[in-house]
């Protein structure tokens, strides 16, 4: 099948958003390019969430199928292609893990596409690629209980009820820790980005003379 062979150089030069647009028009051959671009990120994420290579592979496959089926639904004004596709992959991985876990009736993942992308992505800085180290460093700088709640929610696929049980905290505390933690994470990332822009590669955002 042609799609498995090397893609034409012209297609490979296209941005993700353009590839999705073509996918929406039925151009199946762009899926091979998207696969090659995103399989590593998606597989690593799914593996981190599921700790199970078979489940992780299924999640990646499910994600690309979902991307193909729903390509018409991608709106470049609401989210970057990257955000959209990673969110789908994350959703599939969490879904697979929740189904594997013995669940009380309310735990299963709801829809095929995540809620968060219904609202527009207005944080344009993230459209630039953040590297893994940058994000991990920023995560390391936010309060530990907030980081823990975020990790349990995002990488653990736990709901607030499950996180509350796991950490022995009230539900209200969980949702506020996640929210404040994400705000703190964003602040750290923005500060780090500002420091880079200011031309100081050694800038350490830790500490008092913070840029805002």
């Amino acid at each position: 099948m042609a799609a498995v062979e090397a893609s034409s150089p012209t297609l490979e030069a296209l941005a993700d958003e353009e590839l999705l647009s073509r996918a929406a028009d039925g151009a199946q051959e762009v899926m091979a390019i998207l696969f090659d671009r995103y399989q590593g990120s998606m597989y690593a994420l799914a593996l981190r969430i599921s700790r199970d290579p078979a489940l992780a592979q299924d999640a990646v496959q499910d994600a690309f199928l979902g991307i193909w089926r729903n390509a018409s639904r991608f709106d470049a004004e609401r989210a970057s292609a990257r955000s959209w596709m990673l969110a789908i992959a994350h959703h599939r991985a969490v879904d697979a893990v929740r189904r594997r876990r013995p669940v009380a009736s309310l735990d299963t993942a709801a829809s095929s596409l995540p809620l968060a992308l219904i609202v527009p992505d207005i944080w344009t800085e993230v459209r630039q690629r953040l590297d893994a180290a940058e994000v991990r460093e920023a995560l390391g700088r936010i309060p530990q209980v907030q980081r823990e709640a975020i990790e349990l929610a995002y990488f653990g696929g736990l709901t607030q009820r499950e996180i509350a049980g796991h950490t022995d905290t009230p539900i209200g505390t969980v949702k506020s820790r996640v929210r404040l933690g994400l705000l703190a994470l964003r602040a750290e990332l923005e500060a780090a980005r500002q420091a880079t822009i200011a031309g100081d590669p050694a800038a350490d955002v830790l500490g008092s003379d913070g840029q805002t």
Binding site: A24, V60, F64, H90, S112, A116, D131
Partner: protein, 292 residues
């Protein structure tokens, strides 16, 4: 928008972090969606936090998937139909609405209208031509909010309150991992309609679809069980004044993989006579069906 049955703006904002991380429980997700659809406030909190999910995904160093996945995935894609542009509508879709994407270029693979086409024995031309590959459908507990209910209670519950109560109950029932559930999306004349079909393991199922447009007297919406493209009638949808279509006490034919609605002349047809206007694939919470 606030009210005894809706989430307040404050509650929605307090869940912004969990929503951004896709960590809401199904019922919470429904309530947040319901609120966002009707609320004039921007609820910027949700938008502002969403990109952080991408940042967290980025924090994991990429790792190549094992050999073979590429080929399996591309092969599965080759046999998978796309959800057509026309089916995307309404804020009530269980899938994300893409907004105003112009339908440029050739339409995606699915369904050419076949007005006068009569199905051959064993399967309509639309149905057999476009066999839906079912690989990769996640547990379709897409709770799409439609005020409905279950069983006879619903059809008798004329008042909205009672129906909302039954809806919440139905959502819980739909969250049962042993149920088979289909997310239903409308297209064509029923663009913007959405709902779900739920078939619990241990009792009769039901179909619920919201925002179904009125159709002329003498016509009806008819539901079908599809098994590998072969249709069996599930019955006629009862349509209420507010565009809510319901069909209860259902026991689907064995092997049913898709639910479809067509518009038929009363008193219903033995076989579908036109392209479905509402469709959804069934998925279980456990097994994933292999691509066709």
């Amino acid at each position: 928008m606030t009210g005894p049955h809706g989430m307040t703006c404050e509650e929605v904002d307090s869940l912004a972090g969990l929503a951004a991380l896709d960590a809401l429980e199904p019922t919470e997700a429904v309530e947040v969606r319901d609120h966002l659809q009707d609320c004039p406030k921007a609820h910027a909190a949700l938008a502002e936090l969403a990109p952080l999910a991408t940042a967290l995904a980025t924090a994991v160093p990429p790792e190549d998937a094992p050999a073979g996945l590429r080929e399996r995935t591309l092969a599965a894609i080759a046999t998978t139909a796309q959800i057509p542009d026309a089916a995307i509508g309404g804020e009530t879709g269980s899938e994300v609405s893409a907004g105003k994407r112009p339908a440029a270029g050739p339409q995606p693979v699915v369904a050419q209208p076949a007005q006068d086409e009569r199905p051959a024995d064993g399967g309509g031309s639309w149905f057999s031509r476009h066999r839906w590959a079912l690989g990769g459908v996640a547990a379709a507990l897409a709770i799409v909010l439609v005020a409905v209910g279950v069983g006879n209670q619903l059809q008798r519950a004329a008042d909205t309150e009672a129906r909302l109560t039954v809806l919440r109950w139905a959502i819980v029932a739909a969250s049962d991992p042993t149920s088979n559930v289909a997310v239903l999306d409308g297209s064509g004349v029923a663009e913007g309609a959405s709902g779900f079909a739920v078939f619990p393991a241990d009792r009769d199922g039901y179909i619920v679809v919201g925002k179904l447009p009125e159709i002329p007297d003498g016509q009806t919406y008819q539901a079908w069980y599809l098994s590998d493209g072969v249709p069996t009638s599930a019955g006629l949808i009862v349509l209420s004044d507010d565009g809510l279509g319901i069909l209860t006490d259902l026991d689907p034919a064995a092997g049913t993989d898709t639910i479809a609605l067509t518009v038929e002349a009363l008193p219903g047809a033995g076989q579908p006579t036109s392209t479905p206007v509402v469709v959804g694939e069934l998925a279980t919470a456990t097994a994933m069906m292999a691509p066709a």
